[in-house]
């Protein structure tokens, strides 16, 4: 009998003693599905791709509707909110605000931090440049946003909002420090840099062009700062992106690699919603702009089959709607609605138009010719969308297109109007943003379906719902018709 107790005791003790060797048994909590670490090489393309997806999808719809390249077709109503200007705090939340901060921006931050640790100076530079680019997109959309207090994880759960003016100053600081990091002799990325394949000269030009863009955005609110900054750029002999040097992300005709506008609108929605706005279509026709063939496609059915027909902005979201199906009018065309359509960050055309404006404003210390840069911008746009650049010479003879000179403001109007054309369908967000800054083209009237006051086109996005519940520093509701800091011109 005593033996039994002995055995029992042994069993019980063994049970407990066994546990000390249980560590191995229980050490199974490392996620086998995902890596614990990454490298700048692996994370840079993720950040670049995510940013392009936001710009090429939700911001593409938003910008092209507000800037009146596109409008809602009659037989559907998916995007009527954009025509009604009824943007709520649940729009552009997790899938835009969230992807910009926790997706692109945080990935770029990882790239620059990790690259700095590893001594990969060029990756660090690219990470920082892209961080600046992304942050400008965020602040241009929402105004005052978390910036220097952001991206700190558990260290700061309630990132403070920062004034847009301060953010703009910091953008320049970030870009300057990134430019310092660029080392033409150091190893640079390859295929994993989806934008320039690691060509650091182009990254240098991209950073300079971005600086120019950042300064010009302040042309009306802080002309002195803008002017000084631009003069300094030119004094240093900064080079900007040129013909064929567009910074963009090329999509691939493969499963889940296709252009996001193509995927959502053309494939998922069957192309029933988005059609050409009369605002741009009329202008393209008035100026006999050959790019109409690239930006739009002719109506496929109905009385106007084969010709280019637009729809008055927003009218199909009003009681005056015709209800006509999308295929009876023009839809976005081959340059913007193909599976492989690229999504640009900054196009060569945009670079030239920025330079043209800087020259027109007289801020380049006499360097450059506004008229020529304007023409180059148009050429670069033809080139980018696949139209014959040689046709530009004739196009420049069109009365509304020919560079008319005149006052600074008149020149700026002409430059921005052509810049707006070049943005059609590809850089919707920038088209809306430049419209907010300059008020050009001046023939844009609010959507027929607007629920805002007369003459008001949205001036910002509402802070997302998630901020109001997750961030104690949420500044409260700022209405959609309140301009951001740099938006001071009527």
């Amino acid at each position: 009998m005593k033996n039994i107790y002995k055995y029992l005791l042994a069993t019980v003790l063994a049970s407990f003693a066994g546990l000390t060797s249980c560590d191995d048994f229980l050490d199974v909590n490392d996620d086998p599905n995902n890596p614990p670490t990454s490298t700048p090489e692996l994370t840079l393309p993720a950040g670049e791709g995510e940013l392009a997806y936001v710009l090429g999808n939700q911001f593409q719809f938003l910008g092209n509707f507000f800037a009146q390249h596109w409008t809602q077709a009659g037989a559907a109503n998916q995007y009527c909110d954009l025509e009604l200007y009824q943007i709520t705090s649940s729009d552009y939340d997790a899938r835009v605000w969230g992807e910009l901060y926790a997706g692109a921006l945080n990935d770029f931050r990882f790239v620059s931090n990790q690259a700095t640790t590893n001594g990969q100076t060029n990756y660090a530079a690219i990470g920082e440049i892209m961080e600046a680019y992304t942050l400008q997109v965020i602040t241009d959309a929402w105004g005052d946003v978390p910036a220097s207090a952001s991206l700190q994880g558990l260290e700061n759960l309630n990132p403070e909002y920062e004034e847009q003016e301060v953010i703009y100053d910091n953008l320049i600081t970030m870009l300057d420090s990134a430019i310092m990091l660029i080392d033409m002799d150091a190893p640079s990325p390859g295929d994993d840099d989806l934008v320039f394949n690691g060509d650091m000269e182009l990254w240098m030009k991209f950073a300079n062009t971005l600086k120019l863009k950042v300064y010009l955005r302040q042309a009306y609110v802080r002309p002195a700062v803008a002017q000084a900054g631009i003069q300094e750029l030119y004094a240093e002999g900064a080079e900007f992106l040129e013909m064929g040097e567009t910074a963009d992300i090329e999509f691939a005709d493969q499963t889940q690699n296709r252009n996001p506008f193509y995927q959502t609108q053309v494939v998922f929605r069957g192309g029933v919603d988005v059609v050409a706005s009369s605002t741009i279509l009329d202008y393209l026709q008035e100026t006999a702009d050959p790019r109409i063939n690239e930006f739009f496609s002719p109506a496929q059915a109905g009385a106007n089959a084969g010709s280019f027909v637009g729809v008055d902005q927003g009218v199909e979201c009003t009681p005056d709607r015709s209800g006509a199906q999308a295929n009876t009018v023009s839809k976005p065309g081959p340059a913007v609605a193909s599976p492989t359509s690229a999504v640009p960050y900054i196009t060569a055309a945009e670079s030239y138009f920025l330079q043209a404006e800087a020259v027109a404003r007289g801020w380049t210390g006499g360097v450059g010719d506004a008229s020529e840069l304007y023409a180059q911008g148009i050429r670069a746009s033809f080139d980018y969308v696949g139209e014959d650049v040689a046709a530009v010479t004739a196009f420049l003879q069109q009365p509304d297109v020919a560079y008319a000179g005149g006052t600074v403001e008149e020149q700026v109007e002409q430059i921005i109007t052509q810049k707006w054309v070049s943005f059609s369908g590809v850089q919707g967000f920038e088209a809306w943003t430049e419209y907010r800054r300059t008020g050009y083209p001046d023939f844009i009237e609010p959507s027929a379906a607007s629920t805002l006051g007369a003459d008001i086109i949205p001036k910002r996005l509402l802070y997302p719902n998630t901020e109001s519940v997750r961030n104690t520093n949420y500044p409260g509701l700022v209405e959609i018709d309140v301009p951001v800091w740099w938006d001071v011109k009527d």
Partner: protein, 1045 residues
């Protein structure tokens, strides 16, 4: 760990050495006192020793009595124990009397222990086989509906094989399961529903895994309601346990008995949405032959063309309402179930084997579900003092399901159908007016086409079972080792055909899709349990249990998708244009626990039990993965203590009280931050950007921050209750009050995206559940032939989220514009949704130019899914061989989101859309804002005919949140057992015939003209309360027969 298991087994074997001692032999027979039939399996023990045997199938035994043995003890569950002096006898025959009290009140508690119900200091409720199977419900969980207090059982949908959610005493956990743990014969089994659950577009309810259990195999179910009852099970049992004991042949009086049950039930849709029948196809009051809405003119009855012109031809029909055009789409469904079982007792053994087959045809054409299950269970006495039980169930189940949700789902197409479109005439897809190109509307697709061409099927193979080995070391010391497993594979195949047409229906063109998913799950559970039972003194008894538990759960999930098909001819991954997308996911969790309990009984009226358990879990930080939790419970039998049973009408009166603390671990892989393959989506199916991107891999910083500092979750609860039975048990009450607090909940807490992350795993919330359960039963009338048993149960659970990290709000999911959230100070699962803009007096603010309501800039809280109370009423009337059972079930209060309402309003089919004959009207009690002043004045702008559609089609999502209250006539069954005099003339031992019906009637508040509020489209997880165009629920009725050979 493996070594440890082997060691314990080896020890068991060594212990068997201690067996024999020489003495004399006694033989005899044990019979049932009442019937005189032999009782097999009765334990015969030489008192004061460890020597024992058990009776064979004829009730006979032979035992070697060691020197010094003076008496034999005869013990058998459900019978009174008898002790006989041996004296000089060599033959001792015994007749055992039934222990009435014990028979009723022995229940199966945690770890499969059998305990007297009256000694338990916590609430349990037992449901017997008859009650479970009377309604011929295929799902075990559904069969419990209305019968148990404190348990919320919600069937989620009306499709064949659809799932059910079982929550006991309120939801506690925010990120982990709140469902009761299902335990079969002591082994936990999986009841997950790894659905295509919250896919808004093509969701399919493929059922939960408890559906694999055949109700006919169940002997009884005991529900352990609170943490105290389940404390020994540890973490997973904080949600309560559904303890299922399967049939084992126990109590069989024959060597072999064959039972056969066959039932056939027919089902149809329980609730069709109410529809208006005054306006037909069109828009803005005008006819439009393409429209999928009923905003056309008033019906005229005149003959008109409809649909497209195809090959120069067009169809004609009268322009009038077709009241039943939606109903006609649905068919009668059916369920045909056959179970054959063989059971019996042989020498030192009992056995049970069954085969069951259930075939269900859904009310939606082409949908079906099938289940085959084979089950065997046997108990034996291996050698002296050893006993063993082996049970094994193999289930093969699966079905063809219809997709739900927005987009192309059948129900979504149907409820938009204009009131004059003859749905049945769309059925023939070879008719050029009905095919992809010729279908009348470009805005929807033909529901018959989607049934034929958008399919989802699954096929589950599952095996679960266990081996239990017990050894009586001493008379009062037993060791039991039980190892069990549950594993299955669920293979799913989804197909969406290519649509490629020209013309007006071009917008619905689609490249097609085919996807295969394999879900593999395996659980292994091992328990080594030592029990010691002893009468310490005349007045004190002691039951001690110590044990060790090892549990491992593994998931392996693989999906491959062809997102563009080559053709529509075959369903395979090789039918593809491009390359297939693949995704795999694995997880594993392990847990080691030691536990113990000591129960002291005093004078057979007071019991005190203490338990403790320590777990080591793989999902917690490795250095800090151990957690301990205790419980205590007291049961006081007042009737016995004060001798009330003899002197008063009180037959039984027990007061119970307990306190328990139960820990819980985290979800796997929460302790470390990771990188994930780059992916970005915008919510439209298939529009993601997914890395690799053109061959370039990309890994982004995960949006979730892992936490190396996680602490275990904890639920502490206390409970008091009483169980009183009066006047010869003609009246009985059972009442319980509980209060449980779940703290340190491990939640993936949402963070401001500006932190660079979307969320972090934190110990971050406290959820409180307080409630009352009341069970009142009685036998108002009883004679020899007749009895009427009435039982009412009532449950009120008050649920509050007491604390959320940083006053945060955690979304359980749903829609961006109508989400279900966890928010401090509110019940678990509150709706936060878009609302009308309202002035300070609560009046609706409209747009001054259109008269249409404005939407508030910020979302508001609009009620929760938690009901105020729920209850059930069970009536059982027996007269001679006839038995009638009627079950009512009600849930009052709580909200749900109804997409059906939204869609019906948008499409102009809801009755309310004909308000004011669709003439201009001013929204009652509405105001307009004066400028942007924040001042308001009465609205004088009517809605116009033109914007009525805009009004009904664009109401804030919050207006689709409706009262989810309901009352159901849940079950009616009538059975008749043929008198023995008739049966004796046949070769049957027993014949019983019956008719039954389920969910026969539904009552809901007036505002719900849309749907059965029990519906939930997002599977049986924590996201409840969404009707998102799923298959409507059904009522069923049928007949059944049971025979015994």
């Amino acid at each position: 760990m493996k070594k440890l298991l082997l060691l314990s087994l080896a020890m068991l074997l060594t212990l068997t050495q201690e067996a024999f001692a020489q003495g004399r032999t006694v033989t005899g027979t044990v019979t049932d006192q009442a019937t005189g039939q032999a009782l097999p399996g009765v334990a015969v023990i030489v008192q004061g020793t460890t020597v024992g045997t058990s009776t064979n199938v004829d009730g006979g035994y032979t035992i070697n009595v060691p020197a010094g043995g003076t008496a034999l003890q005869f013990r058998y569950i459900g019978y009174e124990t008898v002790t006989r002096e041996i004296g000089n006898a060599t033959t001792i025959d015994v007749a055992l009397g039934v222990d009435a009290q014990q028979l009723q009140e022995v229940v199966v508690t945690a770890l499969g222990r059998e305990e007297e119900e009256r000694t338990l200091g916590y609430a349990t409720q037992q449901v017997g086989s008859e009650s479970l199977t009377q309604g011929r419900e295929r799902s075990v969980a559904n069969a419990l509906q209305g019968k148990v207090a404190g348990v919320n059982i919600q069937s989620q949908g009306g499709g064949p094989g659809s799932s059910t959610r079982v929550v006991i005493r309120g939801a506690k956990s925010i990120s982990q399961s709140n469902q009761a743990l299902f335990v079969i014969d002591g082994i936990p089994v999986d009841n997950s529903s790894s659905g295509t659950g919250d896919n808004l577009n093509n969701g399919v309810d493929v059922g939960n895994r408890a559906n694999d259990i055949n109700p006919d195999d169940i002997e009884s179910i005991n529900i352990l309601k609170g943490p105290a009852a389940a404390a020994l099970y540890g973490a997973r049992a904080a949600n309560g346990v559904i303890m299922i004991t399967t049939k084992s042949g126990r109590g069989a009086t024959k060597k072999a008995e064959i039972n056969f049950v066959s039932s056939y039930t027919v089902e149809d849709v329980l609730r069709y949405p109410k529809l208006q029948n005054r306006y037909g196809q069109g828009f803005f009051g005008s006819p439009d032959l393409l429209e999928n809405t009923s905003w056309g003119p008033v019906f005229t009855g005149e003959l008109r063309t409809w649909g497209q012109i195809v090959n120069g031809q067009q169809r004609f029909k009268p322009y009038s309402a077709l009241e039943d055009n939606i109903k006609e789409f649905f068919e009668y469904g059916s369920t045909f179930t056959n179970t054959a079982s063989l059971s019996g007792a042989a020498e030192n053994a009992t056995y049970y084997a069954s085969y069951s087959n259930t075939q269900q045809e859904g009310v939606v054409p082409t949908t079906e579900y099938e289940r085959h299950s084979i089950s065997v269970k046997g108990t034996t006495k291996l050698v002296n003092k050893f006993n063993s039980t082996v049970s094994l169930t193999y289930t093969k189940s699966g079905g063809d399901f219809a997709m739900t949700g927005q987009g192309n789902s059948v129900f979504n197409q149907l409820i938009q159908t204009p009131r004059d479109i003859p749905v049945r005439e769309l059925e023939d897809l070879s008719n050029p007016f009905n095919d992809e190109a010729g279908f009348y509307s470009p805005y929807t697709i033909n529901p018959y086409w989607s049934l034929q061409n958008q399919t989802f099927e699954n096929d589950v193979d599952r095996l679960f079972g266990n081996i239990t080995l017990g050894y009586d070391i001493l008379e009062d010391l037993n060791v039991t080792y039980r190892i069990g497993t549950d594993f299955y594979t669920d293979r799913r195949k989804q197909f969406m055909a290519i649509r490629d047409v020209e013309g007006q229906n071009e917008a619905n063109n689609d490249n097609g899709m085919y996807s295969e998913r394999q879900v593999y799950y395996r659980e292994i559970n091992s328990d080594l349990i030592l029990t010691y039972t002893r009468n310490l003194t005349e007045e004190l008894t002691l039951d001690v249990l110590v044990g060790n538990n090892i549990n491992q759960r593994v998931n392996d999930d693989l999906t491959a998708t062809a997102d563009a098909l080559a053709n529509n001819e075959f369903k395979s991954l090789s039918n593809i244009v491009g390359t297939p997308l693949t995704a795999s996911f694995r997880d594993i969790r392990r847990l080691v626990g030691v536990y113990g309990s000591a129960k002291i009984g005093f004078r057979d009226y007071l019991w005190l039990e203490l338990t403790g358990r320590n777990d080591w879990s793989s999902t917690l930080p490795l250095e800090d993965n151990s957690f301990f939790y205790p419980s205590v419970n007291v049961a006081f039998d007042v009737a016995n203590a004060f001798g009330l049973a003899e002197n008063s009408p009180v037959n039984f009166a027990k007061i119970r009280a307990n306190y328990a603390n139960v820990g819980n671990d985290a979800l796997p892989f929460s302790t470390r931050s990771i990188f994930v393959s780059g992916n970005i989506a915008d919510g439209f199916a298939g529009t993601d950007l997914n890395f690799p991107f053109d061959g370039i891999p990309g890994f982004e910083v995960s949006n979730v921050i892992g936490n190396t500092q996680l602490e275990p979750e904890n639920t502490s609860s206390w409970e008091i209750g009483a169980d009183v039975r009066l006047i010869n048990e003609r009246l009985r009450f059972d009442v319980a009050y509980y209060d449980s607090k779940s703290t340190d909940q491990i939640i993936n807490v949402p963070l401001s995206y500006a932190t660079g992350f979307g969320s972090a795993f934190l110990n971050a919330a406290t959820v409180r559940n307080k409630g009352v359960e009341l069970l009142v039963g009685g036998i108002p009338f009883e004679t020899n032939d007749f009895s009427w048993d009435l039982s009412v149960n009532f449950t009120k659970n008050d649920n509050t989220v007491e604390d959320v990290f940083g006053e945060n709000e955690i979304s359980l999911g749903g829609l961006a514009s109508a989400a279900l959230v966890i928010s401090e100070g509110r019940p678990y699962g509150s709706f936060k949704a878009e609302d009308y803009l309202r002035d300070p007096e609560g009046r609706i603010v409209v747009n001054a130019s259109t008269g249409r309501p404005r939407t508030a800039p910020e979302q508001t809280y609009q009620g929760s899914i938690q009901p105020d109370w729920s209850g059930g009423l069970v009536n059982t009337i027996t007269y001679k061989g006839a038995r009638l059972a009627v079950v009512f079930d009600t849930k009052q209060g709580g909200k749900m989101y109804s997409r059906t309402r939204g869609t019906q309003r948008f499409a102009g089919t809801a009755p309310e859309t004909i308000f004011n004959d669709r003439q201009p009207y001013i929204i009652p009690n509405s105001v307009v804002e004066i400028g942007t002043s924040g001042e308001y004045e009465e609205n004088t702008t009517p809605l116009t005919n033109d914007n009525l559609y805009d009004y009904w089609g664009n109401l804030p999502e919050g207006t689709n949140i409706i009262d989810a209250s309901f009352t159901k006539l849940r079950e009616v069954s009538l059975s008749y057992k043929l008198p023995q005099t008739i049966v004796d003339r046949t070769f049957f031992g027993n014949i019983e015939v019956g008719v039954s019906g389920r969910n026969l009637l539904l009552w809901t508040p007036d505002e719900n003209t849309y749907i059965d509020p029990e519906m939930n489209s997002f599977g049986n997880g924590n996201l409840q309360g969404y009707d998102f165009s799923s298959t409507p629920s059904t009522r069923s009725w049928g007949a059944n027969i049971r025979v015994t050979f």
